[in-house]
Symmetry: C2
Amino acid sequence: MALIVHKYGGTSMGSTERIRSVARRVAKWVRAGHRMVVVPSAMSGETNRLLGLAKELQPARLDTAALRELDMIAATGEQVSVGLLALALQAEGVPAVSYAGWQVPIRTDAAYTKARITSIDDTRVRADLDAGRVVVITGFQGVDDAGHVTTLGRGGSDTSAVAVAAALGADECLIYTDVDGVYTTDPRVVPEARRLHTISFEEMLEMASLGSKVLQIRSVEFAGKYRVPLRVLSSFTDWGIPIDEEARSGTLITFEEDEKMEQAVVSGIAFNRDEAKVTVLGVPDRPGIAYQILGAVADANIDVDMIIQNVSHDGRTDFSFTVHRNDHPRVMDLLKQKVVPALGAREVIGDARICKVSIVGIGMKSHVGVAAKMFRTLSEEGINIQMISTSEIKTSVVIDEKYMELAVRALHRAFELDEPAAA
Amino acid sequence: MALIVHKYGGTSMGSTERIRSVARRVAKWVRAGHRMVVVPSAMSGETNRLLGLAKELQPARLDTAALRELDMIAATGEQVSVGLLALALQAEGVPAVSYAGWQVPIRTDAAYTKARITSIDDTRVRADLDAGRVVVITGFQGVDDAGHVTTLGRGGSDTSAVAVAAALGADECLIYTDVDGVYTTDPRVVPEARRLHTISFEEMLEMASLGSKVLQIRSVEFAGKYRVPLRVLSSFTDWGIPIDEEARSGTLITFEEDEKMEQAVVSGIAFNRDEAKVTVLGVPDRPGIAYQILGAVADANIDVDMIIQNVSHDGRTDFSFTVHRNDHPRVMDLLKQKVVPALGAREVIGDARICKVSIVGIGMKSHVGVAAKMFRTLSEEGINIQMISTSEIKTSVVIDEKYMELAVRALHRAFELDEPAAA
């Protein structure tokens, strides 16, 4: 008997028929002897419908007072979901009770529409579990210290589920979604892509930040911080499949180094073509230039991803970084008109037709030559590398976007990700 | 400068366009210098939509746990309304903040789906009013002592508005609705029916309980108990009409005996054809028979309205009462099969083709002969009276339903309600 948290996305909760399936799945876990907490999202389309109504009425400028009302409105979507799911569980003969974020309470800061969870009181939930009830808790929302309703931002229900699991010391948090796990890379690009049985949370964090859309990155951070075993699995399997089979399906994101990990050096290939490259050429090499360039970019509210500065020649260096493709025209203007003249740099060049390809693997920590193998593979395919950035468990390169599929497939093969797992 | 509570029904909140009109009307009152609290209902149709979803999933038997979830779900309709109205007010340049029942808090007992308000904490609302904000509070709902969401039952938003007005000591509570006030009788039956400028709360209470649908009876009880001046007025006038005109429109329900009341002996004629009559004939006249008959009826969860027992002859009496027409077949069966044999009564007869017509007027307290005039008027029209029931300020008769319109029109004329008010 374990304490288990299930999280269901909006598609899984998309109709009364689907909610009934969720209830039957949860009931199966209850009958297997588990103590269950369920965190559902709003029914698909509901949050958009609510914010659409708000948009017709809201003031032109969304100040704090208006953002507060948006959260008040949007939070109702999940409140309806938890009530409906609790009813469906009761109809299955399973005692259940629903709570909105403020009832638990799930405390957050006061940053409306993008609040962060600060604490969760587990007293009430534990009492219900002890009384044999399934506890259904709203995702996506909480309450600040002054008693105002807050929401965590899009996809925040993943974070809610992990935070609840952490607060309760749950044995596992299962994220039911519309994919059946985490893959070595996107199967739409590499048909031989293989589902991972396990992945370390550090790898998952890199995969999420490098463009894998399976989980919201904050939920992975939370899982890592509080050491919550997290499993991503499909909500589209029949609810009646044997529980042992279901409990082993999907991908387990684990923080246990001593667990039997898959032994591949590289776990996955991530890619992202949302970025664009900017290079300031001939920058005088003196203290403070990185700040002068990036400070101006930050002041314009533009996020920077990769940053590269190489050693200088003749007192001058080249400074490169990547930004979101949408921000590329704006950052080029800014640099040309303000930063380059002020710095006395030579010129600024940019390229939006790039992509970033990354290999991720906790095995890289202990294996030398992994990056070299990546570079050799790309070289053998005739692909020129424009920028390189590394961390302990990932290596990213920027290449021409037309080579993206070729690069991903070649790397997937080179690191033997096509092969079935040894396990 | 006064403290004013506005209440808007679901039709007034039925679309974003209508919500904008409500915001403009409230903004007009703010600009006239008033401190404003607004209690809106859910958008029309929304509560039915939510309970329709619940109905598809809920268990066959609605126990307390299921009723709790229905309240959790239904309460979201008003939460969306308050958020949208607050946004619309902000868009009009009026600072506004919304609160759900639990945030005020509006405390209730734990009788889910039909809770009663026990107390309202005015601290938070007062602080916002002092800070120059309009406070928008959900109708229909509250929170019990254990922190569960409760609802007050259909039409409960009227009660919420009056209760909030009482807690704040508001100068007036304005109920904006789809009729423009309280009439001497239903204008669909008597075209000469006249809108009352004022009515005493006791009269309004009788009118509401006798079939007038203008206000929920509990809201009138609340207004009387806490002496809240209540005004019923139309939400379909243009929001831009002069505020002085709007503030004098509709019908004021007042508890001030010393206020200048309209001097009519009878204020209105109420009628109701939802009832059916039951008579147990030849009941042995001994202690406890009323309990033996009505106890059995109550045990079957059937509400009884009028109850009549006349003096006995030869140790036997006849016992009559009225029930809702829907309950008539059931109550007849119950009496024939169980009660009549147990009592040793002669027989039971019933009639569903009846109606109840009542005259209501605080003036009846000090005028003799009012009931006599009613009976004479009906007699002159050849209408036979089947049952009579009186209270200090009303006289009700049961007659054949085919005479209903005739009786109402004749009484309306006889008590000079057709005439314009002397004021």
